[in-house]
Amino acid sequence: MTGYLAAVAALARKDLRLELRARDTLPAMLLFVLATLVVFHFALPADVGDDPAYGLLWVALVFTSLLGLARAWVPEREAGALDGLVLAPTDRSAIWLGKTIASLAFLGAAEVVALPAFVLFFAPLDAHALAGVVLASVGICAVGSLVSAMAAASRGREVLLPLIFLPLAIPIIVGGVGASISEEPAKFLAFLGLYDAVFAILSWAAFEYVVTE
């Protein structure tokens, strides 16, 4: 178990190091989420109340995550690095978990900027909404890391990723919006927690079959 976690830590650290060096993904995510919120600010009529704004927040977060996930496996596609990882004698799910943790760090950084901007432009966020964002982010990155690995192995990766990921993200949006506006947010937070658990286990178990013949 220690060896597994050490491998996960080494893989996640590698992704963070690559991003700090290349700055390919995070600046794009930050600019995208801010630009999206600004566009929504002008697109949303002033008299519609707060509820539609919460829906737009989730649209912004899901599409921002998609931007990051589309680039998640680019370093592994170059120079056959993924084959190098697949050949290593560590459980292959460690590759997925390392990527999920790194993706979560990038999405979290984007949210640190996006959420204050949302409060500034639209409406306040209570503890339930914030808990919803945290739980949804885990689900987005767990499923997204698997799906983006599948897409990266195919020829039409730019098209395939949103085609598979967005339908899988619908429950996350339902749970996130529900946690933000419902009078029973606990129900939606539990739903998000269940989604995270189920899809994290499925992705963890399925990853081996995505990266091997």
């Binding site: 690559l18 120079a79 004698p89 013949e213």
Partner: protein
Amino acid sequence: MAEAPLVVARGLERRYGARRVFRDLSFELDRGGALVVTGPNGSGKTTLLRLLVGLAVPSRGTLEVGVDRAGLGFVGHEPLVYRELTALENLDLFGRLYRVPERRERIGMLLERFGLWDARGERVSAFSRGMTQRLALCRALLHEPALLVLDEPHSALDEQGAQLVDQELAELAGGTTIVVATHEPARLDAFATSRLALGAT
């Protein structure tokens, strides 16, 4: 009693869609042996090597390899490293994944041996093809594999680099089982124990 061969292939066939790369391929390789695989482009040398390391599976036939992933070292057509990490960072990452004991010492020794010590802090994207190939060899040897599989290891190397590879392979031969696909089989005459010539399909 004689030791069982490390690699046993029986009736191997590999197809990509309708295209058959090779068929009915059978061979054995003893522990400590060195198999040299030759053949024209497209004859399936790379495919056979990818089957051996488990990156591909046969379409038909059986292939038994008597080592697990921890005992496999592979140099393919691509270097299997991260271009935006330095040589040292790449080897440190793979050293951790392979749980190499005394990792730093082993990495330092390999970088010295392959003439990359002075470039250890440079990103691989700044390396020449020859330097990248030498780094790929360092990565493959990092964990002292029992079975070393090399796909055209002399490609992109100048004569000095190629001689370094020959010397390294000669030192490993006998202890480490080696499979090399090459267009220059004469370079490996000194230690090759068996040969496999693949035909064009």
